[in-house]
Point group: C2
Chain length 436, copies 2
Amino acid sequence: MTERTLVKNLAALEDGLVTVSGWVETVRDQKKVQFVVLRDESGAVQLVNPRTDDTEAVAEIISGLAQGSFVTATGELKHDERVKLGGIEVKLATLVVETAAIAETPIAADSGIDKRMDWRFLDLRRPEQNLVFRVQTTLEHAWRTYWVEHDFIEIHTPKLMASASESRAELFEVDYFDTKAYLSQSPQFFKQMAQPAGFGKVFEVGPAFRADPSFTSRHATEFTSVDAEISWIDSHEDVMQLHEELMVAGFKAVKEKHGDEIKALFDVDIEVPTQPFPRIPLAEAKEIVASRGYVVPREDDDMDPEGERQIAAYVKETYGHDFVFLTDYAASIRPFYHMRNAADETITNSYDLVYNGVEISTGAQREHRIDVLVEQAKQKGLDPEELEFYLDFFRYGVPPHGGFGMGLSRVLMLMLHQTNLREVVYLFRGPTRLTP
Amino acid sequence: MTERTLVKNLAALEDGLVTVSGWVETVRDQKKVQFVVLRDESGAVQLVNPRTDDTEAVAEIISGLAQGSFVTATGELKHDERVKLGGIEVKLATLVVETAAIAETPIAADSGIDKRMDWRFLDLRRPEQNLVFRVQTTLEHAWRTYWVEHDFIEIHTPKLMASASESRAELFEVDYFDTKAYLSQSPQFFKQMAQPAGFGKVFEVGPAFRADPSFTSRHATEFTSVDAEISWIDSHEDVMQLHEELMVAGFKAVKEKHGDEIKALFDVDIEVPTQPFPRIPLAEAKEIVASRGYVVPREDDDMDPEGERQIAAYVKETYGHDFVFLTDYAASIRPFYHMRNAADETITNSYDLVYNGVEISTGAQREHRIDVLVEQAKQKGLDPEELEFYLDFFRYGVPPHGGFGMGLSRVLMLMLHQTNLREVVYLFRGPTRLTP
């Protein structure tokens, strides 16, 4: 490996010889002195080259240096509080250009989102973008650590399926040798399979695919789904308790590791949510929203995005909380496998989790009684024959169970107060976006 | 949640009232006394019901109990060393059948692999299978913990691509709105993208897809790929050092957490490999194999599976090691993006990692000099125009870098001395296998 010091570790060093590697963010090529700002994955530092006869070799390199080039620099680290960038600079001894960049950069700070997506690998060099993915790493690791410490089993369910896992409408079709396969819209059926398999508690973080032709700021045709499913629950309340514990574990880790940086780069204070999160039955939520003067303009029993924002505003005003579980969704707008409420079969043992006004997750107790499950499938107009492989899971013994699926990037988007999912996805996929 | 004690925790309790939940593994319905073996995700315990007038209600339930049914049992825990199954039993007070199984079980202990795949959710109830996925969980978590502690960033690269990432031959085609997309064969191009993006070090664990029509015991059309890619390497040696550290971290964690159980259920002693792993240039490996009397029957410069077994046997005899890096593969059999050796451009800065005689991974330094990269693509008969989005990654500055991709299930298969990948995959996908 190139023996280099990460920029973030320079400040703690005493003055002396150091080597840093990264890319050239800016060059100021003045007559008497040259400045280069070098950035690596951890931060930026100023390199300085006073022009004398002795430094002409380095000076020539700097004069020809294109922004974006990757270089390795060796020189004397000096602490100097007059230097705006972190109070340190490196007086260059040698500068090696590893790869020279094309002089013209295709995007600028003010480029539109679509242009930046075209050049995503350059866009990702921005410190804000780098931070997004370090936050993602910390968040996921906190969740997995929670799961592992609580005896969950990690599964990788297949993304190639012989039939639809949710609705046929948003299904991608794959040429599969002499037949057709479909891309999994969610690991729903297969994470449930772990329950009759006796796995107890399972989790998966993996891709899911929706052939959704819409162009909103919060939809993608491919997204990272965060899923858990647990046995022996009494109701969706048990799932919600797991869910809020996970969110707390994730937010704690992010605040601890990146709180200051998030404040500096996004002007956002990460708040670790308090438990329990507020829970409001959907019917009640709609009344609250109506009393605030907003009538949800839908013919079915569902909320709409403005309704979610309104109920979130109410919850924030009333409970000071960024999260709210909307519970007891009408059976009419939930999939056939959600368990109905024992006392009122028009509603389900289910919930949506709303964070900062946007839905990030759906959870539910699943119907595990085969006769009821078949009946509910028929009511939804599904053909039980097509679901045989799934229905078999319930015929040889299965514990009561439930779980949730959550969109990873939605959580990140809302946590960092971004308005577009594309800002927090490594490479976005949409109806007209397949490259890079 | 159902308040239950995991079976594995019973032995440490004092005699007294307990509740356990799980599925019925066996029933012995005798005249004077009934026995039920209940299993949960953590182990098995004997339930006993002496038949008296007082226990007739429970007796009737047991008499009607189908194997596989999920039940919750409450009763008096008793330590009794005469009980073969762990020296404990539970004298039943109540037994609640949560879901009754169909009486006839479609698979038996001696069912063939294909039949067992048809009923994978029942096959997974076997303690060996349960252990496979707990080992998988521990292995992955150890790897991710290593990465996180070493400042790697976790990425999720898209599985939908506009073009091939490796060879066109094994590509699945997807109907994508008005165009075609392809399923990613590996995250190769996109994990490399993180290098010009300045991410430094990245990892990903996710699905990869190969439209490979072969039916061997170690191939699948969908598999879980474990990938890492790091900046500022000097050669593939740096990648190998990372790779062996990761393997050691993973094996340590598995041995510590599951060593005894793996010994009991698979009769395998998990050995933590010593560092450094042996390294043998491929040309030398072929000579060694030839000197053992096996001439690799291939016209190209590659090894074959028998050659890998032979060199592994040699390494085991000579160095007592289960792993070997075969290095310096001929350029003729490596992809265009592998960097060539500076002194001999007929060989590459690349390696395969062989474990217990089977290849589990390919790693390499990547060619990051755009002119050389374009030239190598042309030499392989590729059209640079089709690769433009990838080649752009190298035009705006990029650090020297390299990495590896590894098959998760191959590692598990070889670690647990299994002969078929299907035994260690949650749900196998092959040319004729899309269900369940």
